[in-house]
């Protein structure tokens, strides 16, 4: 839980800030970006097939397991033992890319496939952070 700290004043205290009563909680990125914090995890994008949807190599994907999936959603799925980020075509059981260089992938009976969640938010670090670079390896 986040709280607004209110300091105890001990007699001699100069002038009270005129803004004191207007204090609010600071902005929180989590509050803005996470719809279902309990069901959300982060992953690191690796590859260029989703650039048409604004997802670049090294971006952080925010994956929401609760969000409703519809035709054309950007999703993260387990596809044969790997996490992949693609556009789901629910009508034709296809995994689409957002790039001309990558073909659509047909999901067949023999594939191991489960949708993990929806990517409604992803973000890019314009200056690379060492902590995140290390997981691209």
């Amino acid at each position: 839980m986040k709280v607004i700290p209110v300091y105890i004043e001990a007699g001699i205290s100069g002038f009270e800030s005129p803004a004191a009563e207007y204090r609010e909680l600071n902005l929180s990125l989590e509050e803005l970006l996470l719809q279902h914090p309990n069901a959300t995890f982060f992953g690191l994008a690796n590859g260029r097939s989703m650039e048409g949807r604004g997802i670049f190599n090294g971006d952080v994907l925010v994956v929401d397991r609760v969000e409703h999936i519809s035709n054309g959603s950007v999703i993260v799925a387990n596809f044969n033992g790997c996490f992949v980020c693609k556009i789901i075509d629910t009508d034709n059981a296809l995994l689409l890319s957002a790039s001309d260089e990558h073909k659509a992938i047909k999901i067949t009976e023999s594939d191991d496939f489960q949708i993990e969640g929806v990517v409604n938010v992803s973000f890019r670090l314009h200056k690379k952070l060492p902590v995140l670079l290390s997981c691209l390896g």
Binding site: L44, N78, G81
Partner: protein, 417 residues
């Protein structure tokens, strides 16, 4: 109505959440220091991998069957447990986290549920959706029956992850298919004694006279019998009772032969015990201190000494100080120590301590409060008794650790685009 929700082989399943490549493979998880197998996923269980055996004994068997071996990733389990509990808490008006993967529910004013079986599935689906952990759900009119139903939901054929005990038929069906030791509160020893009387299963136990059981086995068994018959005896608060014994033990990452290193390890355990004891408001009257070589060594060495305090205490300095008094009778040169530990075994409540008018109090609440607050705020070990100096040799060995996917940015999963 009570409910019990718990995860199916939690540690092993937690390993599969962020590693899709092992979802269909057999997975086992090892205890601290990679010593024993402590969790086996259902696929590994089918292969016949036993639980609680030393890893080195089954190493080749695991390799032959391509079993995935993992060290305990507590960072990951703690996070997934919290997420799972958050979901479960939404489904009742009273919620009690009983262990890392079990949670009791108490439905006091819940007239809105008319089909408990369906409701169980609603909970299962929600937990699965948000955390990818499978859970079993049991409902019953008492805590013990909820626990029995939970057992049935996972272990008995014919159940689909949810079981409800709400009448005599369902109670008999489930209890008669449970062994005595599957009943909550019936341990191995007690189970053996009961089976001598000719009891075979939970239903037999439910049909005993509570009074006779009390005369022979004590009040705990009497309560169990009553609970099995649908009479609530365990209070909501009682299941979270204070621990009667508090231990801190660990096997060493590398064997220890040096006396100073062993003493430091014991002092550190004593310090952990002291912190835990204060957390539940208890005092230690007797302290067990022990150290041993490995039982798999050619000649097994084990020494265990009990130290009794003149007056019970929760003072870290006193508990750590006790190590010095007993150390010489534990340590022996030339032994390569594998494991050591400390336990507070006779605990008293600090609230009701009998004061002795001739002895000064050995406790130092202001100092201990300060000590606990610093360590709480800046992490365990920030202030520590000097003798309990950390040593790399006995920090945990975790050679097969998976990424801390939810608590460390440099270990978040890679997603192929």
């Amino acid at each position: 109505m009570f409910g019990l929700v718990d995860a199916v082989s939690f540690y092993a399943r937690a390993e599969k959440v962020f590693d899709p490549s092992i979802r269909h493979k057999p997975v086992v998880v090892l205890t601290n220091n990679d010593g024993c197998i402590c969790a086996v996923c259902p696929i590994a269980r089918q292969l016949g991998v036993p639980k609680f055996v030393p890893y080195f004994k089954v190493k080749s068997f695991l390799a032959k069957h391509d079993v995935v071996v993992r060290s305990s990733n507590y960072e990951l389990y703690a996070d997934l447990s919290e997420r799972m509990m958050n979901v479960i808490a939404r489904y009742s008006d009273n919620h009690y986290v009983y262990s890392i993967d079990e949670s009791f529910l108490h439905f006091k004013n819940f007239s809105c549920v008319d089909n408990w079986h369906e409701y169980g599935h609603v909970i299962r689906k929600a937990v699965w959706r948000e955390t990818r952990l499978p859970v079993g759900v049991g409902f019953g009119p008492t805590l013990t029956l909820a626990k029995a139903a939970n057992h049935a939901s996972k272990k008995l054929s014919g159940f689909d992850g949810v079981a409800v005990i709400d009448d005599k038929v369902s109670r008999k069906e489930i209890l008669s298919r449970m062994s005595l030791t599957d009943v909550w509160g019936i341990g191995n020893k007690l189970g053996k004694r009961l089976s001598i009387l000719g009891l075979k299963n939970g239903w037999d136990l439910a049909n005993q006279s509570p009074k006779a059981m009390r005369a022979q086995f004590g009040v705990v068994v009497e309560r169990t019998v009553n609970e099995l018959n649908g009479m609530p005896c365990l209070d909501w608060d009682e299941i979270g009772q204070d621990k009667q014994e508090i231990f801190s033990t660990r096997s060493f990452g590398q064997r220890v032969t040096d006396g100073h290193a062993l003493k430091a390890a014991l002092a550190s355990h004593a310090s952990i015990v002291a912190t835990k004891v204060r957390r539940q408001g208890s005092l230690v009257k007797r302290l067990v201190v022990f150290a041993s070589s490995s039982p798999h060594d050619d000649s097994y060495y084990k020494k265990s000494v009990i130290y009794e305090f003149p007056t019970a205490t929760d003072n870290t300095l006193k508990l750590v100080g006790a190590i010095s008094y007993v150390f010489d009778s534990i340590y022996s040169q030339g032994i390569s120590f594998y494991r050591c530990g400390v336990g507070g075994v006779e605990l008293e409540s600090s609230q009701y301590q009998q004061q002795d008018m001739f002895t000064l109090s050995v406790n130092n609440p202001p100092l201990m409060k300060c000590y606990d607050q610093i360590n709480h705020r800046y992490g365990r070990g920030t202030v520590e008794v000097a003798v309990a100096e950390k040593n790399e040799k006995w920090s945990m060995r975790r050679n097969f650790l998976s990424p801390r996917s939810t608590s460390n940015w440099s270990e978040i999963p890679k997603i192929i685009c």
